[in-house]
Subunit: 333 residues, 2 copies
């Protein structure tokens, strides 16, 4: 916000129309929620945090050609997915989102309708979670649409759920179902079927950040470690194991597979093991803890255990184990 929370740094001779309209639109639409004391139109946003809380900060790129394609993803979906990435990180620490900041660089020829749709998708999700757009930055993009979303959240002092808290003997749980987003992306990549109806494929186009679930797990002291599944189960479980200095064993047949499309079709296991952008929560809990099968309306499934050592093993229905290597997630490969 060198110029102002949402005014461009490349004022004013020749600012693209889309950018001028964007600023006006953001100022008009930005919800004044979340106790924002000064927001768009100042050098910094000024925000109170609840007493005895710590600040949570997360930043996530959404880059055209890397994280989305304008030909495949409607603008509202891009805006929704952009904010989901940030809210999901807040969820994964058990925190409460407080305010959103959007840095948005737009190519000169971008239709205004696209910007409107993007903001509509983003702000609709923000309103549902009671967070205001408190600032950000705008610029002309030298290439495609470039968005960077920042979410400021809060969590009671010392209560953030980290990746590093898993201990041998802990159980491994996952929320919802996995593999839906990646399987839908694959379906889009099959040339003839690129144009999918977003409303039929919400797991990819409008994924749900699990903010309430994360908060309940923290409030009830159920989770010892947590992460959101943005890069795929194999990669995100490896992050927990790495940060916790432990290994894990996962039962392949326990992994809940997403249904996609209409009529619903169960995704292949590969998508559930390695596909990204499901934004479900992966967490561990000490063996003695009783975990409900549903929390905040979301099914919770036991899929494995944390082990000593550093190996992560995937065991099939016959009990045969193989190493479960991280095979992260590249959006368009």
């Amino acid at each position: 916000m060198g110029c102002s929370s949402a005014l461009p740094h490349i004022l004013c001779f020749d600012v693209p129309l889309a950018e001028k309209a964007l600023i006006a639109c953001i100022r008009r639409q930005a919800a004044k929620g979340g106790g924002i004391l000064a927001g768009i139109g100042d050098d910094c946003a000024v925000l109170p945090l609840p007493p005895r809380h710590e600040a949570l900060v997360t930043t996530d790129f959404s880059l055209e050609g890397i994280h989305f394609r304008r030909g495949w993803h409607p603008a509202e979906s891009v805006g929704h997915r952009c904010l989901t990435r940030g809210l999901s990180d807040i969820a994964a620490t058990g925190g409460q989102p407080q305010a959103v900041f959007l840095s948005l660089a737009l190519p000169r020829n971008l239709p205004q309708a696209w910007v409107d749709g993007f903001l509509r998708g983003l702000l609709k999700l923000a309103r549902r979670f009671g967070v205001g757009l408190a600032g950000g930055d705008t610029a002309e993009s030298p290439g495609g649409v470039l968005a960077d979303i920042v979410v400021l959240g809060s969590v009671p002092k010392g209560k953030a759920i980290l990746r590093s808290g898993a201990r041998p003997g802990d159980q491994v749980y996952v929320s919802g179902e996995l593999g839906g987003s990646a399987a839908i992306l694959r379906r889009m990549m099959e040339k003839s079927k690129r144009k999918l109806k977003p409303v039929d494929y919400p797991r990819h186009f409008f994924p749900e950040p699990r903010v309430q679930l994360g908060r309940i797990l923290r409030e009830k002291g159920l989770a010892s470690a947590m992460i959101d599944i943005s890069d795929g189960l194999s990669t995100d479980l490896a992050h927990i194991c790495e940060e916790s200095g432990a290994g894990a064993e996962v039962q392949a047949e326990a992994i809940p597979l997403a249904l996609i499309g209409k009529p619903g079709h169960e995704v292949d296991l590969g998508f559930a093991l390695h596909g990204g952008e499901d934004y479900e929560l992966l967490f561990t809990a000490p063996g003695g803890k009783s975990i409900p099968t549903y929390i905040a309306g979301v099914p919770i499934t036991l899929i494995g255990q944390i082990t000593r050592g550093r190996k992560i093993v995937l065991r099939n229905a016959n009990g045969v184990g193989r190493e479960f290597r991280p095979q992260g997630w590249e959006h368009f490969k």
Copy 2:
């Protein structure tokens, strides 16, 4: 930080080497200052704020081809300038920087040496201001280098200096000298002289965020409104007037002109009136306040007054006034 504070979302099949090295480099180099409780390697950074303080958040793009050129700006300068933008916004509210977050998208073919230089420039400045790199995001860039810097700061409750606090009768002050950065950029744009020695032109390549000055103005209750000069005096004064619902009158001959190069050469008034990226502070103070001529080693100059109405007038040495219109700052036009 969907994947982790600084791990890529486009793991892991085919992550460009520069990106892998970047993550390792950030994790290694990131200063563990500023009381960061969890940082790189978690979904969110967790940060304590001082009691009875509010959070300040600012985000600023630094985009190749828009804010810098790799052919003109050494990597260290790009990293330094990137962070200066954020620190300067914190300075302009009288706040204290707490932590830095860097979202960085790199083209596949970017030399590792460039990334090293960029981080060296950024982290050197961060260390000088006692702030740690607490997280961010990395991705492959579809175009040039794309950086978005986020600075989290804090300010005692209710004490942030906003743009909206100027009142008719207030005096208008500016720190340091103006026009240096833009005049140097113009010199670079004259083809034959593109390669300037950065060490001889620090006002453009290594500008100084006025954090200490901003904090002293806030602590001593001297400033009624404040902004940093990132878009040029004419544009940034217009922001103060707009947010404060007031006008202003500026004495042209009072404006302190920067000296650039060796031997020093005074810039033309036009650069001081409209050139951006000086990162000096522009502030107002009630008429009764006595403002020192130096604060934190930086000269402070009275350049005008806040007036009733909404007009901004520039008055020359003969007392003749003309409307002083914002003529913002486009980096490479």
